[in-house]
Symmetry: C2
């Protein structure tokens, strides 16, 4: 085939992709509005609008034409980038196009519909089951979902473990065995660290539960957001029940947060977290705009950005050295007897707790390890759905040293499984690992990094991330980024080093 | 054809229509967001999203299948409701479906594209021309637009006047000759009334230009909105540069307003006006929800609702008898030396002015008559685009007794022509006529109407409008509504009677 004919075929695929992206962003606006401003009674029609758009997107993704064109370009499961003579960016485009087509085309319409119906029903059942602390009423639905997810896995295909095919939706190209490897490291070192911290004198964090008026929280959040480089000509901050980031266009990446007047951490660290996600999507190279490459390359890498800004930067002494004086002026009553050091220690208090979303930076990983182990056991059929609550309690005891008194604060706490989101949890912890490993490279390349942060200068860090991570969008995989940035494969060691240094200092460990 | 087979075909059309409505509402959300919350730099991609959705909607409207199915049901231009054996609601549905299909199918794609390009260019040129007071730079674009609109008119077809085909987009089934008839009445009576008012001692309205803090304006607007029956579980109020109402679903009809801290009228009467539009769309019978019948039946009827609430109710003594005490509490400084009667007179001050959107209820109609006469002359080629500015000045002198000193405040003041919106203006004045004519019937059926208003009770009026106007959506045409409600065809007499009574009182005319 001539290179001219290659070019024409690629242009056709790019035009098709462009429409898919435009429809996806339109659909994302429908969802954003649903979470922020939509009047309550509009919900049924909004669901119908979303499902029509999702249907149109699915049609385009799985259109027969795609297979023919991809074949013509030499794309296959083994060689998704197509003919070796193609330019790198075209091969990167085709790799993702082929991947998206393949995953969608392998799932029969009937299975997709069954899964959608089942997850929609399960979510409602789960919400009731959690409220009533009644695992038994949720169990049969989880069983059905598991069967369907195993069928998905079979249809999509995997080489080592049925979990691979599910994980791959969220962390493309990563195998379960790799998660096994890094989580084993993580677990082996986290458990003793948490124990050591537990044996040290506890930090007092009561000051965070004083009165923090919402308006001042919002003003402070706006200051921080701007300082970090989030551009309100290309985004906006609203409030919603659950904070999220959504991309509605290359120049339209919005975030949300929520305010609690009696707890300081939620809004501000939530905002910094979402800003981290948004900066990633806003930093993608213009040449990829409007295409499927203009997205974060994996949820793990996405979390590496949000968690780096939230935890490594936003919960650092340097950060608060700069911002604490402003904070003290905004909340004179709440912070009257507080100094920067006691504030820093409070926001970094570590304590094993039952609820994942309230966990600190240290214990968080153990919540994820627990879920990953249970998900794998369910998918390999080495554990039944009936055995899950007891396995949860045992795992929680083993990993965190505490045990939920009810299923509501145990196995029923997260919405993910009811949404069919098995394979999603590991990405949260992978984000921490990527972040720490990247940070090592950054500190080596930017020796003045922490001095900059201490002066409220975040541009050097943001620019580094733009060039090395953000710009590439999905043109590089998570593995490729990790290897190009750090020269090695993913490891838990940098993260553990970071935790040991930071918390060794705070808790006076040797 | 069997009635069973009829039913199946109608179901197919309804399913197709359902998707068109869902896509239209999705597209409307993209537009709403663009005017309210969208970050500035998102505009280019938003345009691309909108144009893709518009294209999908157009494809569905003009799909070949439609013609075949409509034929099978006996629908034609002469008998748009189809076979006489069909149920009334089905015939009402088919009438609108056939009409929408016919109008779209008669316009070749090339013409639609040319018109879209031309109006997009013309709007930018018009904005510059108005800013620079340079009609000459806009004239050639208006000439091009006129040629295209005449081609549209030819393609769509008309019996009496090329203007018919354009007017029909906004005021379906109304002929230019009918507008001629009622506007002749209107003009003949308005001109002397305006003169008589001009000869009477003028009302002082300076109090409206005092300081009205925006937050209190918003609080007052919220109170009024709720009292009128606008349900925030099915709508919301936001701010935008130009106030509008938009329907995003049967239970999602949103309005916007804008605030000027130094002018009272804008926000509150703007809000009441848009509430009037919103109540109409929210009052449509559930059986029509999700179909093309769930819309206002014409722009004239739509304006009858917004103007009835804004002017006949919102600018009445009874209305302010109820609300003035609250107003005085909210704006103690601005209203310190004002009493309800002087306030009532101020908000009803009449004075011929150059700018339509700032005109009072009495002179407003003359602005519309001027535009209608010029539009007709342009379309019948009895006047050239070059002659338009002078014709504007002469018409303004003749109708309003004043003349613009520049084209910027004359012929260039409105955006409509640059958007190809010839035929739109008459609906504004038709709204006033419909409103006054309906109000006669309402007053006869609800003798306690004004006592209710005076007590802040708006439910009786709203319920009457729901049953007699709103519920029918597009299942009844404007003419059918007018005839079923008032027993006669549209006339300017009730509106003139209303104006003479109200302003005769305010200005002490005999």
């Amino acid at each position: 085939m001539s290179s001219q004919s290659f070019a024409a075929t690629i242009e056709k695929l790019k035009a098709a992709d462009r429409e898919i992206v435009l429809l996806s962003h339109s659909s994302a606006l429908l969802s954003w509005d649903q979470e922020t401003y939509m009047p309550r009674r509009a919900i049924d029609e909004r669901s119908a609008q979303l499902s029509l758009l999702q249907g149109l997107i699915h049609q385009r993704i799985t259109a027969e034409d795609n297979r023919r064109m991809l074949d013509r370009l030499g794309c296959s499961a083994d060689n998704p980038g197509g003919d070796a003579s193609l330019a790198d960016d075209d091969r990167a485009f085709l790799r993702q196009y082929q991947r998206r087509y393949q995953r969608a085309a392998r799932l029969p319409q009937e299975l997709v519909v069954k899964l959608a119906e089942s997850t929609s029903r399960s979510q409602a059942i789960w919400a009731e089951a959690r409220a009533a602390d009644d695992y038994a009423s949720f169990a049969p639905h989880l069983t059905t979902l598991l069967d369907l997810l195993l069928e998905v896995s079979d249809r999509i295909g995997y080489t080592e473990h049925p979990y691979d095919a599910l994980l791959d939706q969220y962390e493309p190209f990563m195998l379960t065995s790799e998660v096994d490897r890094v989580f084993a490291e993580l677990r082996a070192e986290l458990v003793p660290l948490v124990k050591a911290i537990g044996a040290a004198p506890q930090v007092d964090a009561a000051l965070l539960r004083r009165e923090y008026p919402v308006q001042q929280q919002a003003a402070f959040g706006a200051t921080v957001m701007q300082a970090l480089g989030y551009d309100l000509e290309r985004g906006r901050l609203d409030t919603s029940a659950h904070p999220f980031t959504t991309t509605l266009g290359a120049h339209d990446v919005r975030i949300t947060t929520r305010y609690d007047p009696h707890f300081f951490n939620g809004a501000i660290f939530g905002t910094i977290h979402e800003v981290g996600h948004a900066l990633y999507e806003l930093g993608i190279d213009e040449k990829y705009h409007g295409s499927l490459l203009a997205e974060g390359t994996s949820l793990g890498i996405h979390e590496s950005q949000s968690r780096m800004w939230e935890n490594m930067v936003g919960r650092s002494r340097h950060f608060w050295h700069h911002f604490y004086p402003q904070l003290a002026r905004l909340f004179p009553a709440a912070l009257v007897d507080v100094n920067p050091e006691s504030f820093y220690r409070a926001i970094n208090r570590v304590e094993p707790s039952l609820i994942r979303v309230e966990a600190d930076e240290v214990t968080y990983g153990l919540h994820i390890v627990l879920r990953f182990e249970l998900e794998k056991a369910l998918l390999s059929r080495t554990m039944t759905v009936a055995e899950l609550p007891e396995a949860w309690r045992a795992g929680s005891r083993r990993l965190l040293g505490i045990e939920p008194r009810s299923d509501a604060e145990g196995v029923l706490q997260d919405i993910h499984w009811s949404m069919g989101g098995i394979g999603y949890f590991p990405t949260y912890a992978l984000g921490n690992l990527y972040a720490a490993q990247f940070m090592r490279a950054i500190e080596a390349e930017l020796p003045s990094l922490w001095d900059d942060v201490q002066r409220g200068e975040f541009a050097p860090l943001l620019n580094w991330l733009r060039v090395n991570v953000h710009a590439h969008g999905r043109a590089r995989t998570a593995q490729e980024l990790c290897s190009s940035i750090t020269g090695s494969e993913l490891s838990a060691a940098p993260f553990m080093d970071y935790l040991r240094a930071k918390y060794g200092d705070i808790y006076g460990l040797r």
